[in-house]
Amino acid sequence: MNMRLVFGLPWRGSYRHKPWIMAFAALAMWSGALLVLHMTRPLWPAGWLGAGVVLAFWLAAMGVLLGSMVRLALEARRLCLPGLERATALSVCLNALALWVVSAVLLAVLSGHPAPLTELLAIGLAAGIAYALLPFWVVALALLLMPLLQGLATSLHWRGIAPQDPRFLEVCVAFVTPALLFSAWNWRRVLQHPHRPIGWFSRPIMLFATWTGRPRILHAAPADGLGRRPACRSRRGCSRRWRCTRPDRPICCVRCESHSAGHIRH
């Protein structure tokens, strides 16, 4: 498989302004992180942590972007395209790994605190990927079980642990591992039945996205008489036009018929 193509998939398989937005975001966040690192060094010994948090947010945004590539894989599956589905999964893994390693190494070299920053950046990246891929019910369940999770964190003595603490590694592993495993499971689940409608409760967040302002649900039911596709794009517009139709107004009837013909979705 062509590795240039695999690494370039988030760029090539996205809309045309995305590479520029991503490049600008990377530049802004890295500049911000370096600025925080440089400015806080004389005043605050733990200033490197601020830079780490800034970059963790950037990696979270990149994680969302990588997670949203499930749409590309879904299109590949729906159209029976060879190689693209596998290339997309590989691209997410390799790009995530590369982003994490490069960011962690650069920041560690500049700040001198490799371990906590690596862990912090891993949490940011995993949070972004999980945000894009986890179904609604997991988010709902996590919110419902929040008191239980807090209790668990207290009993494991994880509450209030700062990144400098050696036990932060345990927190990192406890968050990153299930988040990534669950995301991978859901990626696979979504692709297994590309034409089966998925209820909103179990749909990954990224599949609620809109393109060009028009809501587009990728798991719309098939339209072969069993689906629920609307026959008219603008029901209000249709009904307004049809209101004028009467047997004594044949011209209006013909106009309405020809107008609505353009709105029928085959």
Partner: protein, 291 residues
């Protein structure tokens, strides 16, 4: 099963149920290599479901399908490179322009024909600078058809390809399909409910009604093999046992679509006093069966 002794597309006892409604009822059929099979049926007859099940895009409740000798649910890239599919709703890659999408997708096909893409985009007058989401359904359908044809497939599967096309584009598409089948030996399966499209290009037809495959034969044979038999009410009890379709009128008379038997003869009821046998055109046959 080796590819050499199998048809490019095979359905074996496909059953499928959606939300308690049965969409496919034990469909068995093969699409022979190099043939153009028109799958005809009313809206909701199960055409798209059958196509998806054939291509492994849905897991059937029971039965299975083979594409170029491979199980449809586990298609390898080697087979996908030889297969092109255009779904009923051309909604793929809405964020890309036609040129970007075709250039992107083309990288995954070893036999991608760039010259065909450029020539057809220009010939079909497709706007290349706007995202696909902003094109009309007909334009998007044509872009999808270019994608499907540019990879030079051995098997081409089109789900109601002409539904959003104007008559000129429809003619061009049918011409292209006929050319591919005739010159390249491409096997084509296309679903439609437009009978005239079938008559132009199909070599075989399969009629699907309420999830059942009611007939599957060469297009030229339909007139010879099937006819409409009208029986007066007094002979209703003598009607043939398993007609293709059967309609009872208010006066008790029957209209049946009957086929010739294994020896090429019509059912005995044809000889009954007052019975009438009419030849059927393809559209009449479709209406008689599906009405």
């Amino acid at each position: 099963m080796s590819e050499s002794n199998s048809a490019p597309l095979t359905a074996q006892g496909l059953w499928h149920t959606y939300e308690g409604r049965t969409a496919l009822r034990g469909v068995d059929f093969k699409v022979e290599a190099g043939s153009v099979l028109g799958l005809i049926g009313r809206n909701g007859a199960g055409k798209s479901t059958l196509i998806r099940a054939l291509l492994g895009l849905l897991v059937p409740s029971s039965g299975g399908a083979l594409v170029l000798g491979e199980p449809a649910l586990q298609l390898t890239d080697r087979v996908k490179e030889r297969l092109a599919y255009v779904p009923q709703q051309p909604e793929a890659f809405p964020w890309l322009t036609a040129t970007q999408m075709l250039a992107f997708v083309g990288r995954f096909f070893p036999r991608w024909d760039d010259a065909f893409v450029r020539a057809t985009l220009s010939r079909w007058d497709i706007p290349t600078g706007r995202p696909l989401a902003k094109l009309s359904p007909g334009e998007r359908q044509r872009v999808e058809l270019i994608r499907a044809l540019a990879c030079r497939p051995d098997v081409l599967v089109l789900d109601e390809p002409a539904a959003a096309l104007d008559p000129v584009a429809r003619r061009e598409l049918l011409r292209e399909v006929a050319l591919r089948a005739g010159e390249d030996g491409c096997t084509v399966l296309f679903s439609t409910h437009i009978v005239s499209d079938l008559e132009r290009v199909a070599s075989q037809i399969a009629l699907l009604h309420a999830g059942q495959l009611l007939l599957h034969c060469a297009l030229d044979d339909t007139k010879e093999r099937y006819a409409r038999l009208w029986l007066p009410s007094r002979h209703a009890a003598a009607a043939p046992d398993a007609p293709v379709s059967r309609r009872v009128h208010s006066d008790g008379s029957l209209t049946l679509v009957v086929g010739r038997g294994a020896r090429g003869d019509w059912p005995a009821a044809v000889q009954l006093d007052g019975a009438r046998l009419d030849a059927l055109g393809l559209e009449d046959l479709f209406v008689e069966i599906a009405a």
